[in-house]
């Protein structure tokens, strides 16, 4: 169980990017009535930002 959790925590920034940052971006854009570029949906745009950002945090060990 603990080993599974350890692996989960290793990729947690990626999960955070998908699970939280992506919908947060999409809903913030909707709140301010901002359209996503290139005909994307807001959620797809959020995922396009959140997932790579989370992956970067996994890779570098920091968000910025």
């Amino acid at each position: 169980m603990q080993a599974v959790l350890k692996k989960l925590f290793y990729v947690m920034p990626l999960l955070f990017g998908i699970g939280f940052i992506a919908p947060l971006i999409a809903q913030t854009m909707a709140y301010w009535d901002i359209a996503a570029p290139y005909g994307m949906s807001r959620l797809a745009f959020g995922l396009a930002i959140g997932a790579p950002w989370g992956l970067y945090a996994v890779w570098r060990g920091r968000w910025l």
Binding site: G19, F20, P23, L24, Q27
Partner: protein, 327 residues
């Protein structure tokens, strides 16, 4: 282990067992170059007088139930923020501001529970001590067991760059302390999470293993809640009611409650690892951190009583050569 550790050690300071537990009771207060002019008998007598005063302000001699009452009320209020905000009754900015205060204040109340000041083991009040501690750290997304373990380790090795979990907050000024707090929250090897794992591994106790397991469970559950809120269409609510207040609260805890009283993180002794300060936010704004030296000397004194204890202890501490200048 060469010294007693944990709650027993911390709580024992100042009571009948203090002389046996304090490893350097006859040492000079501050190991500066010149002698303090006191012989070991005088130092021991001063220590006894100190302990006698401290015991008058101890948690068992004062009412600490208001801590529990406030903690339970604030936790209930914090929980209510979510349905109230979703229903459009609570403005998000207000929820965010109050949530930030509750995160920081929750730590201060949990801190009393860490030192068993709300109910010692074996007493009927113990249940409330543990309940208060466990509920108050939920907004931090941290389990009480881990926060308590790391805090007691901080008391054992204050300012030790390797052994004090809070030494990670050292910074040249308050602005950098906030930046450092943010850097410490990064997921990599230099972050707090990695450091806590190292401390737990080095302790190697069942208590440390349990705290680590509870840390992982607490994080998984709280993140799962955030993800569920976000994917249900309430990402902004989740961000402004929990995620952002947590970060604001942690920055406050690290910069005001940890960095300020220990800066410049130089001394590691009983009397010089922290100090009496005058925080720019004032006594209330800094949640009583001004008398942190008294807390480290006698952790069984609840935070509301440290000021009065300080005023009575001040002449004795000054006689010992302790810096009581309130820098």
């Amino acid at each position: 282990m060469d010294e007693p550790f944990g709650e027993t050690h911390v709580l024992a300071r100042g009571n009948a067992a203090a002389d046996a537990l304090a490893p350097q009771r006859d040492a000079r207060a501050i190991p500066l170059g010149g002698p303090d002019g006191l012989d070991r008998h005088v130092r021991r007598d001063l220590r006894r007088q100190e302990s006698a005063i401290a015991l008058r302000y101890a948690a068992h001699a004062t009412a600490t139930w208001p801590y529990t009452a406030v903690a339970l009320a604030c936790f209930a209020a914090w929980l209510s923020f979510f349905p109230l905000a979703v229903a459009g009754i609570l403005p998000l900015w207000l929820g965010c501001a109050l949530g930030s205060v509750f995160v920081a204040g929750g730590y201060v109340v949990a801190h009393e529970a860490m030192h068993s000041n709300l109910g010692q083991e074996g007493t009927p009040q113990r249940f409330w001590n543990e309940l208060t501690g466990n509920l108050s750290t939920i907004p931090l997304m941290l389990p009480f067991s881990m926060v308590k373990l790391m805090h007691l380790l901080h008391h054992r090795h204050p300012n030790d760059p390797y052994r004090d979990p809070d030494a990670i907050h050292a910074a040249p000024n308050v602005a950098m302390a906030v930046v450092q707090s943010w850097l410490n929250r990064q997921p990599g090897k230099g972050g707090t999470a990695a450091r806590w794992r190292r401390h737990c591994a080095e302790l190697g106790t069942a208590e440390a293993k349990r705290a680590l397991a509870e840390l992982m469970i607490a994080q998984v559950l709280s993140l799962a809640f955030l993800f569920a809120m976000a994917w249900s269409g309430y990402a902004i609510e989740a961000a402004l009611l929990w995620w952002l207040p947590r970060h604001i609260g942690l920055s406050y805890i690290h910069a005001v409650l940890s960095w300020a009283p220990h800066h410049p993180h130089g001394g590691t002794g009983r009397y010089d690892s922290t100090a009496i300060i005058r925080h720019k936010l004032g006594l209330w704004g800094s949640m009583g951190i001004d008398y942190h030296l008294i807390h480290h000397l006698y952790p069984f004194i609840p935070v509301h009583a440290t000021g009065a204890a300080y005023r009575e202890l001040k002449p004795l501490l000054a006689q010992r050569g302790v810096d009581v200048s309130a820098r």
